[in-house]
């Protein structure tokens, strides 16, 4: 019997793991918020495993990060993630690219830890048994298993950031973008998050002011006034950036 009030079947969206990782490409990308241009004709091909983005406040680096999973669409130019255009394949791009925000409190939307981690899987219509298994796995991996039923607002700052990361990684994205993931953390938690990023098999892009985080990265971009002004290995770019900011 037809039940018109039942939820429609899940929309077919490409599995993030099915498409091979090639590169993120920005072709002549500009972005403006109203009259204020924050990115100016940026063209990049980013095939590396770990990429850092540094720059002063208001330089455009967070906008650059948001372009990579379609949270912001370019005013001009195109952003392609493994061949998928953020403007036309938005849902597939968002499944492919996870995003971790600076403030985990803004990213945690359910009252308890396990429920929040399950949120993304619920959106992806992952069946309940698999959902529970994946949530348990990711909580154990990030040392949150003992907090599964705890209210999220009672976690420490470091635990909240790990919860935010767990909530993204449980969705098994092919790439993860971090927007200043260590800014609000103490030294011990900064090191813990750095270790988590270090161990990820996913390709990562990390926007940060924490230059120590970039040790061992494959490539670092320096953004200033909406343009990429330096691009190279951490050894080449970080010293240059520090000298420029001094």
């Amino acid at each position: 019997m037809a039940r018109p009030w039942r939820r429609a079947a899940a929309q077919p969206v490409e599995d993030a793991a099915a498409r091979p990782r090639t590169a993120v490409e920005l072709a002549g990308v500009s972005h403006a918020y109203g009259e204020r241009t924050v990115l100016r004709e940026v063209s990049l091909v980013l095939p590396e495993h770990r990429i850092g983005v540094i720059g002063g406040n208001g330089s455009g680096k967070s906008t650059l990060a948001r372009l990579l999973n379609g949270l912001v669409l370019p005013s001009a130019g195109r952003v392609l993630v493994d061949g998928l255009d953020t403007a036309t394949d938005l849902r597939a791009v968002r499944r492919r690219v996870g995003f971790v925000f600076q403030d985990p409190d803004a990213q945690i939307v359910h009252p308890t830890v396990a429920e929040d981690v399950a949120f993304g899987l619920h959106n992806q219509k992952v069946p309940a048994p698999e959902r529970e298994q994946r949530v348990a796995e990711v909580l154990a991996r990030y040392g949150l298993a003992g907090h599964a039923e705890h209210p999220a607002h009672l976690l420490s700052g470091g635990q909240k950031q790990l919860l935010a990361i767990a909530g993204v990684l449980v969705m098994r994205p092919a790439r993860v973008v971090f927007d200043e993931p260590t800014t609000l953390l103490d030294l011990a938690n900064r090191r813990r998050v750095a270790r988590v990023i270090d161990e990820l098999e996913q390709d990562v892009v990390v926007v940060t002011h924490d230059l120590d985080l970039l040790a061992g990265f494959d490539r670092v971009l320096v953004v200033s006034d909406g343009r990429v002004v330096a691009d190279g290995t951490p050894a080449e770019t970080v010293d240059w950036y520090v000298a420029r900011m001094s």
């Binding site: 018109p4 009030w5 039942r6 939820r7 429609a8 899940a10 929309q11 969206v13 948001r66 999973n69 949270l71 849902r91 968002r94 499944r95 996870g98 995003f99 925000f101 403030d103 409190d105 803004a106 990213q107 945690i108 939307v109 359910h110 009252p111 308890t112 429920e115 929040d116 399950a118 949120f119 993304g120 959106n123 992806q124 219509k125 039923e149 209210p151 999220a152 607002h153 009672l154 909530g167 993204v168 969705m171």
Partner: protein, 212 residues
């Protein structure tokens, strides 16, 4: 722990009871208490709820009493109102009835995960799909309300501290503007986070009159 986060997993009979059954019982109790305005019924219900909370849900007396703390002024005010306007018996019924319902609701939230309660609400709201409403959005709104109340309270406390640190015992309403600005910023980022975590994956249902 706040009163909004009472749930704690325990091996109790009520924890094993489906959230839908508990919500239905809570609704039935509400109807009974208002349909039969008697001190005996209200008192017996209060006793039954207390026994269920202590024995059935294995809550401590302190946890149960903590649920009445935010409403005790209302209960006293209600009793005083009835003493002035009606009589002691009517006031006693009203107070015991309200206390019973607050405790019963606390027992339900203490023994049911938010996700289970939200799933029941979504199921009840399923017919709204016929008019183009996504029940999942209603459930998400409830869950987010429970999540953000303590967070907004925490931000308000931080603003009060910042104002006090600058030497001013400022009126409470002067806190509202900075709090509003912070809440709007939080809302903006949270909206982005919802998008990033696939909250928009499900296409909205088409209202009946828009279906081919």
């Amino acid at each position: 722990m706040t009163t909004l986060a009472l749930y704690s997993p325990r091996p109790s009979a009520l924890h094993r009871t489906p959230a839908a059954v508990e919500l239905a019982a809570l609704a039935a109790l509400s109807v009974l208490l208002f349909a039969v305005p008697s001190v005996t019924v209200a008192g017996a219900s209060l006793g039954a709820v207390a026994v269920l909370g202590l024995a059935g849900a294995r809550l401590t007396p302190r946890q149960l009493l903590a649920q009445l703390r935010p409403v005790w002024l209302w209960l006293v005010g209600l009793l005083v109102f009835h003493l002035v306007v009606t009589d002691l018996a009517t006031g006693a019924v009203a107070v015991v009835r309200l206390a019973t319902l607050v405790l019963a609701a606390a027992v339900v939230t203490a023994t049911s995960r938010v996700a289970e309660l939200v799933a029941v609400v979504e199921w009840l709201c399923a017919p709204l799909r016929l008019v183009g409403v996504r029940p999942g959005r209603i459930g998400l709104a409830i869950a987010m309300t429970l999540r953000f109340i303590p967070l907004v309270a925490e931000r308000a406390a931080r603003i009060r501290e910042a104002q006090a640190a600058r030497g001013a015992a400022r009126p409470l309403f002067l806190m509202l503007v900075p709090l509003l600005v912070q809440v709007l910023q939080l809302a903006h980022t949270t909206a982005e986070a919802l998008d990033a975590r696939g909250a928009d994956d499900e296409a909205p249902p088409r209202a009946l009159w828009r279906r081919a």
